[in-house]
């Protein structure tokens, strides 16, 4: 759900951003980095599609919000939030998880369904989503939602935050994909089907046992 909606929001967002692509990293009058070079725009057929981009953006914003609200409601009703919210120890542990994932440290701290780094990441992405909605509304209706624009530190800052959050999603996505690939097929299967990785582990034990052992297990 998230991936297609986010992709469409980012793509249509770029159609809009192209009309006034002013964000770049400039130090002492020298531009070091423009976010999107011309070939990138051309390749993705971005230029001169502002009206189209806005039309898509302002339709899919509803799905973006709806999807987020439903997901949060689901985690609350199902009690999943207990697995997802960072705990006090999570921040310390997340560092250890990072070291482990980078193969600097051998042992990963014990975890439940999600490890400390995941807890932080998956909670952060919800906060980011909320941030995108708030900064988005602050740019979209800066007069009617003047208090949101004020909260974001004005129209310009709101636009920069909105942009930065998008870059954040892309980074999140890249790390996420790398992690999924590293975690392997079994893990991906569990993501789709919903049962946990632990379910896979008893399998070899049963395989090594004789079939007669299955009956008492029932």
């Amino acid at each position: 759900m998230n991936f297609p909606i986010l992709t469409i929001m980012i793509w249509s967002g770029m159609l809009i951003y192209w009309a006034n692509d002013e964000y770049r990293i400039t130090l002492f009058g020298h531009t070091y980095f423009m976010f999107f070079p011309q070939w990138f725009y051309d390749k993705l057929n971005i230029p001169h599609r502002l009206a189209e981009g806005m039309a898509f953006h302002f339709l899919f914003m509803w799905f973006f919000v709806l999807n987020g609200v439903l997901y949060v409601l689901y985690t609350i009703i199902s009690g999943e939030w207990r697995e997802l919210l960072p705990q006090k120890k999570s921040f310390k542990e997340a560092w250890l998880v990072l070291l482990h994932d980078l193969h600097i440290r051998k042992m990963a701290p014990p975890q439940n369904k999600y490890n400390a780094a995941q807890r932080i990441a998956y909670t952060a992405i919800i906060v980011m989503g909320l941030g995108s909605v708030i900064t988005g509304l602050a740019i979209y209706k800066p007069v009617q939602f003047y208090y949101l624009t004020w909260l974001c530190g004005g129209y310009h800052l709101a636009r920069i935050f909105h942009f930065a959050l998008t870059i954040g999603y892309v980074l999140f996505f890249v790390i996420h994909i790398v992690q999924v690939i590293l975690a392997g097929w079994n893990n991906f299967r569990s993501v789709i089907s919903g049962f946990e990785v632990i379910n896979e582990e008893p399998k070899p034990i049963i395989e090594t046992n004789t079939p007669s052992d299955e009956n008492p297990a029932k």
């Binding site: 502002l50 003047y146 636009r159």
Partner: protein
């Protein structure tokens, strides 16, 4: 006929078999492997079905036909529908109490950005110019710029916002549209849903919903930075409507009309949102 009855028999058999075997199955439960394959089959099936549905939905939307050209044009049919529905949702929160942020005079740009000349290119004889107000009765008021300048003046220094994404703090002076309405006793016209404005050559035109037009910060402006408007900023009179994007801020007003239907709108005909409100 024969084959049909055979088929029925076959179906009957197939239907029967799981029932008769069910009792056996409960005795011999599914192995863990079987459970896993079954659940995987169901969940991956669902994943693929939803995935293709999403892809199909996207293809349908992306290739959907363009709307038939009316006051709006140039957008995909379903997207235009969505824009109009979204407008209705956001018009609910529109209020005259929500004001555009204003700034001190020093912050106003000295060089006011100029983006387009459609409908306001070339020179204009401001002394000969008249603002035509088309009343419902068919009567047309012809108002000179000097008459407008005699009305109570309002200044506003605010952040002008373009749909392209740029914005600029600028300083405008003129008469509030609502003051103009009450001075020329057009209050009954202000009960209608929309105001339409066009340039004298009718090459640029906008339609504006009445609540936005009657917003206390909407001006018929004749000054920028306390000087009479230069031709490129819409001399002698232009619309400054801070609750809308720049595309609605028509330069060089030639005529004003009132209606319950949406008046034609230049950029709404190019695929942009009709409302374009802020």
């Amino acid at each position: 006929m024969k084959s049909q009855s055979q088929l029925l028999k076959l179906i009957h058999q197939v239907m029967k078999t799981p029932l008769s075997k069910k009792t056996k199955l409960t005795k011999k439960p599914l192995t863990v492997e079987q459970k896993i394959t079954r659940r995987n089959f169901i969940s991956f099936g669902t994943f693929i079905v939803f995935g293709s549905a999403a892809y199909g939905g996207w293809k349908w939307l992306y290739n959907s036909p363009e709307e038939t050209a009316t006051v709006t044009a140039g957008a995909r049919k379903p997207l235009r529908k969505a824009l109009n529905k979204t407008e209705l949702a956001f018009r609910r929160i529109f209020s005259n109490n929500n004001l555009v942020k204003t700034y001190p005079k020093e912050m106003a740009a000295k060089n006011v950005r100029h983006n387009s000349d459609i409908g306001s290119g070339g020179k204009i004889d401001t002394a000969a110019w008249r603002l035509q107000v088309k009343k419902q009765s068919g009567e047309v008021l012809n108002i000179s710029i000097d008459e407008i300048k005699k009305l109570p003046k309002t200044d506003i220094i605010y952040d002008f916002k373009c749909v392209e994404g740029w914005d600029q703090i600028s300083h405008w002076g003129g008469v509030k549209f609502s003051d103009f309405i009450s001075h020329y006793k057009l209050d009954d016209h202000a009960q209608l849903e929309y105001v339409g404005m066009e340039t004298p050559d009718k090459n640029y035109y906008v339609g504006i919903d009445m609540p936005s037009a009657m917003h206390p910060q909407t001006l018929l402006a004749y000054e920028v930075n306390e000087q009479p408007l230069p031709p490129k900023h819409g001399a002698p009179l232009r619309l400054i409507i801070p609750v809308k994007y720049g595309i609605k801020n028509l330069k060089r007003i030639g005529s004003i009309s009132f209606s319950n239907d949406r008046p034609r709108d230049y950029w709404a005909e190019q695929g942009y949102d009709y409302y374009s409100g802020l």
